[in-house]
């Protein structure tokens, strides 16, 4: 079944000036969709609209067949949507363990400890730093914690906004490998990225968003093998 279906989505911060202007796509469980595009194209706005943080003007978002229109942001994790924002994506003043416990709180009591343990196995760096403040983590560890927080309730769809931003090339590789593993378990991954090469290396499909509209859609491999397309929309810098 389609895990995430977005139809003719128009969304933005001011209804008179929509940022996302009619975007449609389908994302199946186990697949990775890369959402690419130049700065200011509306990628983050689209991701936030899916998460419920930005007003949807028209169009629809369906999560596993259920419309999300009237579902408030705080209820979407329960419905199976995990979201990792681009910035401020951990509670810096809380410990790593508290960050995990917060998201685990939506699970049945008996299942919480098991899921937290599973996350610490998936991201071993976090286990050692469990009792420390999340604000003290390195950039990479922070990203891992944010991903663990979004994954702890075993969502059907994971949306990430530029998880590679600010990370060293080596860490980018680690994050992308993790995403590949996560998708392999059946999770649908919507990956917003500036790092075109890293995103296309793992994506099954890709959308290029320009000024709030889909300028190009295709298989990840097609874009990978045809740098000209990426260069056309993204500038040669990333695609080269």
């Amino acid at each position: 079944m389609t895990a995430l279906a977005v139809r003719d989505l128009v969304a933005g911060y001011d209804p008179a000036l929509p940022i996302v202007r009619g975007v449609s796509f389908d994302l199946a469980g186990g697949a990775i969709l890369a959402l690419l595009g130049p700065n200011g194209a509306g990628k983050s706005t689209l991701a936030k609209a899916v998460a419920g943080l930005v007003t949807v003007v028209s169009g629809s978002i369906h999560l596993r067949g259920t419309p999300l229109g009237d579902v408030p942001a705080h209820a979407r994790l329960r419905r199976g949507l995990g979201f990792v924002p681009q910035t401020d994506n951990v509670f810096a003043g809380l410990t790593v363990a508290e960050n995990l416990a917060i998201a685990a709180a939506i699970l049945p009591r008996a299942g919480r400890a098991g899921r937290i343990a599973a996350m610490l196995t998936l991201f071993p760096d976090l286990a050692a730093a469990r009792r420390g403040a999340a604000g003290r983590l390195s950039g990479g560890q922070r990203q891992m914690l944010a991903m663990a927080r979004a994954l702890i309730a075993a969502p059907a769809v994971l949306v990430l906004d530029e998880p590679s931003a600010g990370l060293s090339p080596k860490l980018v590789g680690v994050v992308m490998a993790r995403l590949r593993d996560i998708a392999a378990t059946g999770v649908a991954v919507l990956l917003v990225e500036q790092n075109v090469r890293a995103a296309l290396a793992i994506a099954d499909h890709a959308l290029i968003l320009v000024e709030g509209r889909v300028a190009h859609a295709g298989g990840g491999a097609t874009l990978r093998d045809d740098p000209a397309v990426a260069a056309l929309y993204l500038g040669g810098r990333h695609a080269a």
């Binding site: 943080l53 942001a73 705080h74 994790l77 979201f83 924002p85 951990v90 509670f91 809380l94 998201a103």
Partner: protein, 298 residues
């Protein structure tokens, strides 16, 4: 004399700390300075007077001036004032948060403060009230150091309440969620927390703790319609001193303000007592605006 200053300062500082917890939490969560917060203390004190009066007289507890009815009235008044605070938010502030600006909210809280105070003045008159006319018995704690038994009882109760609040914030899922929303409301929503629920709980807790401060002030001093309003400046000073949003900060800030106020009386004269909180607050804002506990979430 220094020892006596400490005793008086710590007692009144504990009350300031209790009142400042609610102020710092609502400020941290909603980014709004609630000028009506002091009235929760006043209403708490008068509601306890009504409840204790309705229960009727009873023998005082040991060397204290009051009996079990005032303790029951304290509990009842904390519940009622909690509901009053939550209702004030639901009826007034919540709507303004949606449509108004920050300054509208502050002005509205000033208006609410006036209305709440006037209602008490209308009902009880401007004259002071007392929970009891008994003379408080004092106890010698050390050389040059005396306290009334009432003061010690109030201090003990205040410490219990602060400890309970601290444990709630640090050890329970609810406290964790409160700190999360205060630090990053959007991220809290993404993590499955309903901020509206946390806001409601925060008003309930802040109202209840302010009520306790009012009752304690009534026990150790007296009840007047302006008692909470006069407490407002020390409350803000304590909240800012401790760092906005920080519960331990508010408690420590309260103690510092209480002791500074008590120390100012022999040093500068009683007429300058009220200015002390203001001076300490200004100094803190100039030196370290984020407060002792560094501000949000702690």
């Amino acid at each position: 004399m220094i020892a006596q200053i400490l005793v008086d300062g710590i007692t009144s500082g504990a009350m300031i700390g209790l009142g400042a917890i609610g102020l710092t939490l609502t400020y941290g969560l909603l980014r709004f300075a609630n000028f009506a917060h002091g009235e929760f203390a006043t209403w708490g004190a008068y509601l306890a007077l009504l409840v204790a009066g309705a229960i009727g007289p009873a023998d005082p507890l040991g060397p204290l001036t009051f009996g079990w009815p005032l303790l029951a009235a304290l509990a009842a008044s904390m519940v009622l004032t909690a509901l009053l605070a939550a209702a004030l938010d639901g009826v007034l502030f919540r709507r303004l948060r949606r449509h108004g600006s920050a300054i509208t909210l502050v002005i509205a809280s000033f208006g609410a403060s006036l209305a709440l105070r006037s209602a008490l003045e209308f009902g009880f008159g401007p004259q002071p009230w007392y929970y009891t006319r008994d003379i408080a018995m004092t106890v010698r704690l050390g050389p040059g150091m005396r306290a009334t038994w009432d003061q010690l009882a109030v201090l003990g109760l205040a410490i219990v309440l602060m400890l309970a609040m601290h444990l709630l914030m640090t050890r329970t899922p609810l406290g964790r969620a409160m700190r999360a929303v205060s630090e990053n409301p959007d991220l809290a929503r993404l993590a499955g927390i309903d901020p509206a629920r946390i806001v409601r709980v925060t008003w309930l807790l802040g109202g209840a703790l302010a009520a306790s401060a009012g009752v304690f002030l009534g026990v150790t001093v007296q009840l007047r319609p302006s008692m909470g309003f006069e407490l407002l400046l020390p409350l803000f000073a304590a909240a800012i001193l401790g760092g906005i949003g920080s519960v331990p900060g508010a408690m420590l800030g309260g103690l510092i303000i209480g002791i500074a106020e008590a120390a100012s009386v022999p040093l500068a004269g009683a007429q300058y007592r009220a200015a002390v909180a203001f001076v300490v607050m200004l100094a803190m804002l100039l030196v370290r605006p984020s407060g002792l506990f560094g501000g949000r979430g702690g």
